[in-house]
Amino acid sequence: MTTKFSKSSNLTRRSLLRVGGGVLLSTPFVSRAWAQTTELNVLAWYGHAEPDMVAEFEATNNVKFVPKYYAGGDNMLALIAQSPPGTYDLILSDGEFVQQLNAAGYIQEMEAADYPFDDMLHPDFADFPGHWADGKLYSVIMRGGHLGVSFNRNAMTEEEASSYEGFWKPELKGKVGHFDWHLPTLGQMSLKNGNGAGLFDLSDDQWQAVQDTTMSLRSQVGGFFDYGGTFNGLKNGEMQAMVGIGDWITGALERDGAPVGSVIPREGGIQWTESYSIGVETEKADLCKKYIQYTMSPAGQVKSAQMLAYPGFCVTKAGRALLNEVDMVEAQRTGQVDGMANDPITLINEGRIHYRDVPKQQSLEDWNDFWSEYKNA
């Protein structure tokens, strides 16, 4: 077999020099373009540095996000504590852990004027506990969501799910799952016991009562799961009700057509809040600021509401307005439309939502110890 080359494809000395010279001359531009790509090390819950959230910003600003994902606030604190200073440029934290981040000196002061505080949907978001210290800003709320009773609509009615009592339904024996983190579950058990706004501020007697209530649920429990397991358990029907989660899991499944949902029960629900802070020793503070501004912009807020990993509600008025404009289905599904009964802001105003916190009168270790006992019971 012979290969026939056309005359035009013959490589002459002149064409070789021309192509070679071109390549050589363009190399500095190519390498400079590559060299300018800045890596931004982000510590966050899963999904925050995935393409649906950051691709546009990466392309516009020649940035590459390098995420380190965690599950749970104490897991996040530990990752920072065990890493050399400056490892993480941008830190997404659960709202209740910002105070500890600040106390340990892991995050730097931010300039309030750089962020849209006058556009927040609720006054609490502008002055969230722990986000300010001595009049200085250390963190900006970026999104939130509510935890209540999450359930499979084929196994439970919305009426049954409107009280934490629903978890004790005899037909759900072995079908109640736990997201494997003590804070949301014990918080919900505290709400069931009627502790209301003081759900994390428990006296010894109240704490004992919460433990007793939780223990009484043990025979109903079919498993303890991480994010993926919780997702799978509800999706394949192995679990028909879940304690400690909310729309951040069922919302993603619902969008895929699964017959699941979450409601805020009569006893009240818990709000998870995610806030961005800038690492104290980062050399890329300006880029971090730019990204936080991007997430707080209307377009960034919509991206957050539509985040593939798990949805969260907008915290700015402009973000909500744009969501209503571009994705009314998602806005209505999550109650982010003015006047809807399940509007997250209305629920907060009605006092039905309490911000997740760390235990006030016990240590996290006490709660964790009980959690281990509970799992072994």
């Binding site: 599950a71 749970g72 104490d74 897991n75 604190l77 530990a78 920072i80 504590a81 065990q82 340990a104 072995g174 799952g177 494997d180 983190w181 003590h182 429990v221 079919g222 498993g223 303890f224 799961f225 397991g229 799978n232 358990g233 394949n236 029907g237 192995e238 996290l364 270790e365 964790n368 110890d369 959690w371 281990s372 006992e373 799992k375 072994n376």
Partner: protein, 288 residues
Amino acid sequence: MTTKITGKKHFDLYAMTWRLPIIIWQGMFFVGPIIFMIAMSFFLVQNYRMTEAFEFVNWEKMFSRGYFWDSYWHTVWIASLSTICAMCLAFPAAYALAFRASENTRRMAIFLLIIPFFSSYLVRTFSWFVILAESGVVNAALGWIGLGPFTMLNTTFGTLVGYMTLTLPLVVILQTLAMASVDKTLVEAAHNLGCKPFETIWRVIIPLAKTGLIIAAVFCFILSFGDFVAPFYLGGSQDPTLPILIIDTTKSGQQWPRAAVVAIMMMVTLFAVAFTGIALAYRKRSSS
């Protein structure tokens, strides 16, 4: 050529040169980490950061907690159950490969048994979700004959299926190799002398293959005892084993020193099981 053995030992630089890499390797990746882990069990955690100390508080804390002992005995029990299941399930296959199959078939079978190790254990475990779920393959098949659905995921059964995924191919290989090395003429002699098949297995084959069989059992126990994936994903953490307790301990509160206590207890147990197994495997039969 004869080798003259003298009672006098002397330093052989050449031999030492060849031994040194394995000694360094063991020192760096086995002895060193163990010493560090033991030291770490006396450290303290303050503000999520480990600080060097020499306190017994972690040992006291873990040993005084009921959930630690519950996890410990549960792990011993479920790893033992896994070993018994794997040994029983593997034996017929290994026997057939050792005594009934041709040399070529045996070689091919061992190759096929090695193939699962080419893929990720985690992926193999996740594939069981499709099979064991209430709407999965097994329940669908059982539904055809009017049975089920049965809950298999997030149960001890699910955990055992995961353990079998991890250990069964290895146990079959080790049992096959152990039985293949049994002198066939002794088996034939037993038959010729009127020994029934099961009696031959019990009184001839098992005693002769004892060393390999015990090593297979020890490996199965060790792998099951330390496995995190099966009890977490297929067992739903319903009966927390010690590896799950380690994760829980480090995840919340970042109590690495307490996790080190659990890990040391696991190592002590595994050493005890391994040494007992080896002692049994190489124990000479008492002359009667």
